[in-house]
Symmetry: C2
Subunit: 726 residues, 2 copies
């Protein structure tokens, strides 16, 4: 229990860091009156959005909570509510600090580039540490309550179900926030451009355009709040499923299980500390802005190595004792391991628990694999989306011959960008599995997510600089301010792409762990049922195909929704211009809140069906196949769907987010004076590519990650509900 | 053996039909001298292309044949050579009739729409019947030779390997022809536009542009020769794998096996006859052009129902006798079936052959499922690519707001278009499997492919009308001629998309059959090895992910290749203009052959690496995983790769081919006077979408089909080679 307390303390430190740092941010000057006016409009929009979104989500949440209460009981419902509330809170706080830091970043950038960087990064760090801290607190406190005051054993079914329900709460809010936010931001972006630049002939960041504020709100809504909820979900699901897997797979005494299940919490705790130390290293030296951010990232990553070793050593006691099988054994490790792994699949079918034998040292190396995956994904993403490398340059070059060739090359790059991350994930899966089986893969994913605080900090910094640039432009600040914020923003494109690759990459690692939890649950709940997960079972193929379909259908909904909602924005702005001619003359202030509310309603309406897709599809598939060919086939198809959705979703998400980032930076590369620069034909073609990439990278692509999780978690909860537990 | 003779006779009838009909086509007037000049230029280009392509493929073919000879022996090498030669021949003959029919179609269209339709469709029918006829002859004659003169038993390993090698020959040529042709046609298309319209300022179909002839050659090379080789491959692989599966899975006396293995040949035979009858029903009534084509298709499909019943009855004798298990049993069908299917997966692992019990009536219904899938895919493809429905209209509407929104909506439609075909395939798989197990699915796929003659006829008609339009424009024929050929061509866009959906859909059905052949082979060759194909085996996940990666990487190569080869075309044309100023003045003839040869060389060079991808990836995966974790894991990963490539390839191919067709027809819809018509801003945006869709639908998308087959067949041959057989 000491270890759980330690994790809780680390979580509280993260919250404290967030509190102190946000006070620092807020104490800075918010600039002149004009800047404050604009910032106030963005904040007003943010309030309008949050009010509407949380009202709608609350309705869905209450319905789902009622269903959970009826099927799985009180503890799971409490878990769901905690997950949902804290996921919402992470988004809420992140967006709130972001909409206040934007104007202060603009003001700080008037002084120096370093000033702007510090301000923007600090606000990002607040979001990052709160995501990790709240995530850790949610699981650690709930786990403490369940094993302490509730007196449950660590591997009690109620704990497994409650932790799963907590993950479900986080995921459900997260898919709403990611998809809704993504539709909002891109609908406002595209709509504002169409009605402002094209129809009314006013410049891009003109405050007379009621949709321009919505566009700025969108940066916060999509890239900050949505992203924060998404990463909160990824954090909670990864740590949660690691603990659940230990409870399901390892046979040991309660005290030993308690130690092992606390380890993911302890890892999360110490890495929050290393991440906080890392944030203080973000400083411009003689290098680039990217270099300054990397200093923070690499400091955290390198400090995490000894920290993880130390905490693992402290938690497990003996790093060389064998874990698994009948507990913490001192038996011959290799023999035990071989005996278990070679027979695991047959054992799974026959109802014998598939445990795994490994040592603390093995787990440590698995976590190093997780850190290595994070580092490699950062590097690969920078290669595919940075302006210094072949991919972005090839898109910029293709822009010379027109819109069509720009899009063709961008699509080629987006397809190609899936290869290296897949190879990295495949190698990591094999290496971690050979070290410590499914639990090893789970710990690799946990170590990846342990750095979430730092990764989110790098990401959340982006929309702040983006907004700061908009405010600088609208408030008519000196040109050098805009230049500085532009320089900061360009780096933000890459860090945003990094986070998405990181989240989906961890989902790739977690897929096998989630499937392992599913098969183990199945054995526990239905010990007499023989379910054939072999590829020669046609229901497995059916499940794989239908699972693979989900990201495609989901992507289609997302892309279409952006188009439709953008159309609604155009109508709304036309109406404001018509009803209030003073807006265009600059004599009266447009009703920013109304446009924001319109986009919010459009976004929320558009996201209902796609968000229900991963919730209802697994349930529908199970019941249809069961009706056709019995329960065993139903479970086989359902299990295969869980893997189908990751096998296809990994590629859809990676291609969309990398491709979108590459298109965006190809445009920036041209704007830097290459291939004719701003205003050239190549630039027009690059703008088209950027527009195409927008819903790719900010709407459909990133929402695939929570979608995959929801499909998996719904399947786990369905099993529990069918078994009548809870 | 009587049944095999019948199939051979039907194959000969198809060839005879092709011979007679091509005489009819060639006896028509080839138009005036100017038209014949242009047609001669296209034919010259075609010769240049064929010469170069077959030379290059021959080198690869000889190397592969040598490897096969060394590892699998004489019979397999002969099979490979037959498959390769006839696949090449199908493409060669198809293209030759097509380049002669184009000018005659233009001439016939001067008389009437009906005249143009008849001429173009007849030449398409020649290609279609030769594809089906040569495919049937290849398998039937080879099977006759093996079981007759060679005296082998129908389920001798040598026959299984030789039929697999025959399919490999067809597939290898087909991926070259599809990908090479696809790169050729789109590189010429894009290149000709860039250097002609944009740089030199000459109109689209101007004969002074040396690349314009290459563009017209490309239509024949990609849409006719490449498509014919692709469908030949699909035909041969589907019928071949059905026969191989029977040999592997059914335990019966040689005489009984002979009857059952001849059934796919007999089905192919009778459906050639119904297809030939169908071709005579293609006639304009009061309905549309599409309606005229449909008359032919539905006649063939409906006549096939009684024909398939009759031939199945005749072949099997008793439609209600139980097949499978220990032969043609009269045992209780349901009991036998249940006993076998419920235990099939475990049995597969334990080394017991997984046979299936079914009746002739069951097989008949499976084939009806295959026909229904074909009909539904035709219908779904028309919905997604026809100008009368929501998808194409939504893209046209989105073009009003610019290039970006056109592409976004097109991508949304391409993602969405995967859903209905997937559902159809999934339902067909389950239904056929419940009727007759793996063999049922195989017969469903066989019935789909039995209509290949008619489907290819509808497809091959497209490029002929496209070329006819170009010739009419270049030769300055009356406007109404161009209007008529344009009307014929618009329908061609949909029929082209239909064929691609049909081919990939049949691959979806065949995937489980191919995997079944793989697992059965594995049991036979390595009876002592326990291979775990369960989804909880991490090597299965690794195989699925790497298999899923292949279509993405392949697509990236294809898209990039088009861009690069188009650049080479631009350089070449610039050089001709510079060296010979007489070209632009119209005093000297451009060197069409040189441009065609350049595009050919560029296309062939660009396709080498992507074509090697599916050949080498399975081999590399097996040996790497074997080195890491032993042979059983290697085979598990390899088997999973086979399904990963279809699970992802199905979606990549469907989305690319449907999306591309929709973009193309959205442009045509605008050109028909909607949303501002030709020359409007919406039209420019639609042209961009069309350009993006070009490599999607004509290069990367369709080549995924042979790619999937090659991966599967290479795995089967690798098993045989590893076992040291042959």
């Amino acid at each position: 229990m000491t270890i759980v307390y330690l994790a809780i303390v680390c979580g509280l430190i993260a919250v404290l860091y967030g509190f102190v740092t946000s006070r620092q941010v807020l104490s800075a000057s918010p600039g002149n009156e004009r800047m404050q006016d604009i910032a106030a409009a963005i904040q007003e929009g943010a309030r309008a959005y949050l009010g509407r979104q949380y009202t709608t989500i609350a309705i869905v949440g209450v319905v789902v909570a009622a269903v959970l209460f009826a099927t799985l009981g009180t503890l799971s419902t409490i878990g769901f509510v905690i997950g949902a509330l804290l996921s919402g809170l992470a988004g809420f706080v992140g967006m709130n600090i972001s909409v206040r830091a934007n104007v202060r970043t603009a003001e700080a950038a008037r002084g120096s580039l370093q000033g702007g960087l510090t301000m923007a990064f600090r606000s990002g760090a607040v979001t990052g540490m709160l995501v990790a801290g709240l995530g850790l607190l949610a699981i650690a406190l709930f786990f403490w309550y369940l094993t302490g005051p509730s007196g449950l054993l660590p591997n009690d079914r109620a704990i497994v179900e409650a932790l799963t329900a907590l993950a479900f709460g986080a995921s459900l809010i997260s898919i709403f926030a990611r998809l809704g936010g993504g539709i909002f931001t891109k609908a406002a972006d595209v709509g504002a451009d169409l009605v402002g630049k094209v129809e009314a002939g006013i410049p891009e960041d003109d405050p007379r355009n009621p949709a321009v504020i919505a566009d700025n709100v969108g940066d916060n809504v999509g890239d900050c709040a949505g992203m924060a909820a998404d990463l909160f979900e990824t954090y909670v699901v990864t740590l949660g499923v690691t603990m659940v897997s230990i409870a399901l797979l390892i046979q040991a005494s309660p005290a030993e299980l308690m130690r092992l299940m606390s380890l993911p919490l302890a890892i999360g705790g110490v890495c929050i500390i290393t991440s906080i130390i890392g944030t203080y290293m973000v400083r411009l030296g003689r290098g680039s802005i990217m270099g300054a951010l990397y200093k923070g990232f690499w400091t955290s990553a390198l400090l995490s190595v000894p920290a993880i070793w130390a905490i693992t050593q402290w938690t497990l006691g003996d790093m060389n004792a064998v874990i698994g099988g009948a507990g913490f054994l001192d038996a011959d490790r290799d023999a035990a391991f071989d005996a278990i792994t070679t027979g695991s699949a047959d054992a799974a079918i026959a109802g014998v628990p598939a445990a795994t034998a490994f040592t603390g040292t093995d787990l440590f190396w698995c976590m190093m694999i997780g850190l290595a995956v994070t580092g490699l994904i950062v590097w690969i993403t920078e290669y595919y989306t940075g302006t210094n490398y072949r991919p972005v340059k090839s898109i910029a070059k293709a822009s010379e011959t027109g819109h069509g060739t720009n899009v063709i090359q961008g699509l080629a790059i987006s397809l190609e960008a899936t290869a290296l991350p897949t190879l990295v994930i495949v190698i990591a899966v094999i290496a971690a599995y050979k070290l410590a089986g499914i639990i090893g893969i789970a710990f690799a994913a946990t170590a990846m997510l342990a750095l979430a605080g730092m990764v989110v900090a790098l990401d959340a910094y982006g929309p702040v600089t983006d907004n700061a640039g908009g405010i600088a432009e609208m408030a008519g600040l000196e040109d050098e301010v805009r230049e500085r914020t532009d320089a900061l923003d360009a780096v933000g494109n890459t860090t945003k792409a990094v986070t998405k690759g990181y989240a989906i990459g961890s989902a790739g690692l977690a897929a096998l762990v989630l499937f392992g939890a599913y098969t183990t649950d199945l054995r526990t709940y239905f010990p007499d049922l023989t379910v054939d997960f072999s590829l020669s079972n046609p229901y497995v193929i059916v499940g794989l195909l239908l699972g693979a379909l989900l990201p495609y259908l989901f992507g289609a909904f997302g892309m279409t929704a952006v188009g439709r909602a953008a159309g609604a924005v155009v109508e709304e702005v036309r109406e404001q211009f018509r009803d209030n001619p003073g807006i265009m003359q600059g004599t009266s202030r447009p009703n920013y809140g109304r446009t924001v509310d319109l986009v919010t309603r459009a976004a929320i309406r558009e996201m209902i069906v796609p968000s229900l897709l991963p919730v209802l599809s697994p349930i529908a598939l199970y019941f249809i196949v069961r009706a056709v060919d019995g329960q065993a086939s139903g479970f086989a198809a359902l299990g295969a769907m869980l893997l189908g959705v990751i096998v296809s979703g990994l590629f859809v998400a990676l291609s969309m987010t990398s491709g979108g980032g590459a298109w965006d930076n190809a445009k920036k590369y041209i704007e830097d004076g290459n291939h004719g620069g701003k205003g050239s034909e190549a630039h027009k073609a690059a703008v088209t590519g950027d527009t195409v990439g927008d819903p790719y990278k900010d709407t459909a692509g990133p929402a695939v990650n929570p979608m995959i999780k929801i499909t998996n978690i719904v399947a786990l909860l369905l099993l529990a509900a069918l078994a009548g537990h809870g």
